[in-house]
Structures are given as structure tokens and as C-alpha cells.
Symmetry: C2
Subunit: 362 residues, 2 copies
Amino acid sequence: MMTLILNNEEIEKILTMEACLEVLEHLYREYGQGRTVDLPRSDAVVPSSTDYTVYALKTMSGCVPYFGKAAIRLNSDTIQHPTIDGIKRRVKVPAASGGKWVGLVLLFDMNSGEPVAIFPDGVVQRMRVAATNGLGAKYLSRKDSRILALIGSGWQAGSQAMAFSAVRDLKEIRVYSPNKEHRESFCKEMEPKLKVKMIPATSTAMAIDEADIIASATSSMVPVLKKEWLKPGIHVSAIKVQEVSWEVITGCNVFFLHSNRFLKQTNYLMESEKRSYIEVEKGWWVEKAEEILVNKRFPDLGDLVTGKFPGRTSADQTTGFLNSLGLGIQFAAVGAKVYEMALEKGLGREIPTDWFLETVHP
Amino acid sequence: MMTLILNNEEIEKILTMEACLEVLEHLYREYGQGRTVDLPRSDAVVPSSTDYTVYALKTMSGCVPYFGKAAIRLNSDTIQHPTIDGIKRRVKVPAASGGKWVGLVLLFDMNSGEPVAIFPDGVVQRMRVAATNGLGAKYLSRKDSRILALIGSGWQAGSQAMAFSAVRDLKEIRVYSPNKEHRESFCKEMEPKLKVKMIPATSTAMAIDEADIIASATSSMVPVLKKEWLKPGIHVSAIKVQEVSWEVITGCNVFFLHSNRFLKQTNYLMESEKRSYIEVEKGWWVEKAEEILVNKRFPDLGDLVTGKFPGRTSADQTTGFLNSLGLGIQFAAVGAKVYEMALEKGLGREIPTDWFLETVHP
């Protein structure tokens, strides 16, 4: 047996947004019926040798019997928290050789237990985040949604635009980001790819005016979406808890979380004298954890895809979706698909699986 | 940069029990002072295609700034729970190609974030379990301990014998195991290695008679150590919670846990109709979790090594040590040592680290 090593370029070639949406729709059907298991995201955070920098080892894992695969997704990160354009952000520093990052997916076959593939997480990571918000919009936004307001013009914003374009027949995407150059180059780059008119907006007001869907895809650590934006018929979408306030969540007629079983990652901070500069995050998700996790105040994407809870039932409802926390099962599902397609196309390099096996009882 | 791939044979060659004890003593000094971070062991358990078999993906991780290393230890297991010799056991089936198991350690450098080494967990796993109980005995057993009673004759029992021999000047080890053939071949095999007289015992009574230290190292899911064995001056040692009852723990004058911050692994069981045959474990550790984790009724190995809590203070005390739960930081510490020694000796195979890096923001 051989273990397949893939890179991001190869994965980008084979993993279309349509394939990703399809495999995740299957996944959430399984998840919604309780046929998957997740080890929730946990971050071990310790001070780095450099001041105001932390090292964080992050893992999330999951088993999806439907695909016969399990996955571990890991990140070995150097992180800083600078204030950029007046907003506090979380920035991963590319500290590895050649100015690179370290993020990996290890894919296992559930019958043999063998690691069948290892690949960087970057492309899969953004595709599954986007497809998750895309599925939210597919089940919640108005079918006749034509204008998307996109807050953010980074790496995640690009794939979010792809996902919303795949589930709705958009005619226009208006992009706001505080940096003029970023939003303009983003629109210029994405327009030919999406075949949708892209308009850089000079303010959030300009971006959201006439929008049917408002989506934030930022690295902001403070709320981005505003309550006054919740006009009848709108769908709002966020990629992380910090982008959205409790008022927006409870202000929607219909609101779904990605998962209502887990909320935010578990952080394990080093108990040292140096930890003072690692601010322990505060937000509605701390205060409302019991309401969400125990009382299940909001249904989740599993409930939505299986029809256990209805999505939008009328055109004038306001709907919302929060991609509250990534799940390891996403990497098992999308990883299974990537592996299958890579084998078909003969992509990647191989190393002997036997290097990762042992005759010694573990 | 290259990432080093090692196998168990290479690790066995370089990792002596003495080196393992030394590196772990450093580790527990750091741990006891709150200068390490652990992601506790979590198991994602799902029914396998075969009846009464489960697939389990297990991870534990940790960062140890003192060694500049972080590690993820993972197991991708096929598990059955048969009754053998009248005792219910947990058996890992070697389901991978060639009848092998899948357990790996991924070692990361905290400065660059890069994966510097990947190796199977088998040898490191049993060495660190044994060295942990060995450190317990070094700080808790009587310095003049001469006779060790060992319950169990499996893979873990062998390394336990090595660890106790390394910290105490033993003249005799009496081994009990229900299977005559096993205990006899075990003694025959271990005697020349340890240069200590090994006696197969036909009963636990024969094994523990005159013993200064009683150690269990079994796969038993029911208590092995008995309260009536707690004679003045004895030290008792267990490698997992199931082997020891609450009565034994509270019956000792002095009792230390490996860790009082975590207790037993977290299990995430699939919520399917099939789960009925996965028995959710019951035991004192469920009932006493608050007393241990919140009230810190027992100190742990970090407290012992740093001297925050005294160990044995008189020859007639009964002392006990329970290796309650493995920690990811053990793999970071022992892994750092293994990596350093393997580089020195030029052992292992290399693959380009660049295969595991990415230019895409994860």
C-alpha cells in the first residue's frame, strides 16, 4: 500500500465548488441523523520566544462511516494579534521555511485504519468553509436572490463568492473592504472567474443597498454585520462568531448555526506568568453557551439539510446563518472526495504506507 | 529542510529507559510549574462494518516550550471487547496491511511550526507509560525496596519491569498472569535483560507475598489491585484507572495521580441505533471526577517532582500511584529526545518538509 501526498495546486485543480457542495450536503444529511462523530477543535496556545507572538497547535478530527473515512486536520501556527485599519485581527505568520504555513489533513481508511492520504489544508479549508455558508444560503436565502453584498476581500471572501454564485443565480456582487486597493483588485480578479458583475463598494452602506444576501468573510475580531441591515427578505451569513452580534442573531426570523453541538474552539492556554498578553476571548458565545448547546435555541445545518427544522417559509422573512465552528468531519468528507478524484487522475506523490504502520502494539 | 521518518526498531535502539526517565523528570518539573499545555486525549468511536467491532480515532497533543517542541499522537484503531480468561478486555485488532497497527507521533518545531519528525508510537508509548510509573516509584516507594510484584505479563509489563529496575535496586520480580505459559515465557525473556531474578507466580498471593512494590500492568477492565494488599511500607502502582478501585486509592496514606487536571479520555460515541453495544464505561472516575478535578483531592506527578506536595515521609506509609491518563506533552518531550538522538546517529529516512508546507493561508 502507498500513502498519497497531494499539494494545494493539485487539490485546486480537482476540487470544484460544485463537488464540495455536493459532498458536504451528503455529510450534513449524515450529521443531522447522528451518524458522524467529531472531536471538536482544540487549540494549545503557548507564548513563543518572540514577544507578543504565540505558538498554537490546533487539531480537529472526525469519522464519517458513510464515506468510510476519518480525518485529522492540524495546524502548527505562529500567531500575532495586530490592529490593522483600526480593527484588531488574528494573523497567522508564515514562519516555516520559504515563508510558508503549516496545516495538514491526514485521511484514514476506517476498515484498515491506514493513513491513505496526507495533504495541506489550505484549499480544502477555504472550500469547505465557503460551501458550508453556501449550503446555508441554498436552504435559507430567497431563490430569486440576485445581489450579494460581500464584506471582506481576502482569501475566504473569494471562495464565499464562488459558493454563493454556485447556489444562486447572482447578477451582481458588491464588495466592501476598508482597503481600496484590496477591494478593487479582488473584484478585478474574481469577475472573470465567476462571470458575475463585481463592484467595489466605498462603504458598507453602498455594498448592502439592494442586497438580497449579506455575507461577511473577514478576519475581524469585532462584529461586522449590523442589526439595521435586517430588511425583510434578507439573508445574512457570517464565517465566524466574532463577526456577528447576539442582536443580529436574535433579530433574524430564522437563524441556523453550522453546528449547535459545539461552539467556538476549546483553548488551552499555558498557565505561565507570560500569559497576560493572551487575551481570553469574551463574547456572546461565552454567555449564551448554555442556551445554544444545552437548550438548543437554534437548529443547525444538519437539521436544515435533513428537514428536521424548516428553513425559509416566506419571502419576507429575515434569515441568518453562522458558520460557528469548523468540524473535523468536513475534512473527512471533502478529503474522501479529493482522495477519490486524485486517484482517478493519477495525481500526487506516494510514500510507503508501511512507514506509518507498526508491529508493536500501540 | 527534511522531515525525519523513524521506525520502532530505530527508536528502540536509541531510547533507553534511563534517557526516558530523565527527559520525563524534566517534563514534570515544567508541567508542575504550569509551563506546558495539553490537549487531552479524545476518542471518536464509531461502529465498524463488522459486528461488535468499533473504529476509533484517538488524538492527544501537547506543547512543551522547554524543549521547543509540540506533538500530536494519534491512533487509528479497530477495537473489540472480548472476554479472555474470564476478564473483559479491550483488544486492538491489527487491521492494517500485514497485520499491523496504526499509531503515529507527529513532532513539530515551535519556532518554525514545521513537522520535523514522524514516527510510530509503539515504543515511545510503552516507554513513557513505564517511565511515568517509574518516576512515581522513584519518589514514592521505599528506597530499600527489593521485591517487585508484577501483575501482568504483556507488552506494558515488560517496560514496567525495566522502569522499576531503573529506579530501585531490585533483587527479585515476581510475575503473576492468569496464563501459565505467558508468565513463564515472560520471566525467561526478561531475566537476562534486567539482570534481576524473575519468578513466575502461580497466584497473586504468591506474587505479592514479601513485595515492597506491587504494580499492575494489564488490559483488565476490572480492578486488579486489592485493598488487603496495602501492608505498611508498600507502594502500589497502576497503569490505568480500571485496574484500581476507589477503596485502594483512598486506602493509601499517600496517593498521587499522574495528572489531576484530566481524568480518563473524552469519548465521542456515534449517536446511532447501533451504539447499544458500545458500553459507556462506568467506574469511580465518573463519580469522583469533581473531587479529583475541581477539589484536587490528590496531587499529581507535577506536584511530586517539583516538591509542591511531599511524597513518602516515613518507611511504614502506604503509597500509591495511578497513571490516570496519558498526556500529549509526554510525546513532545520524549519525541524531542528521540529526534535529537536520531539526528546524532544519522538514523531514519527523510522526506522533503516542503511536502507538508503551504503558501495558501490555512
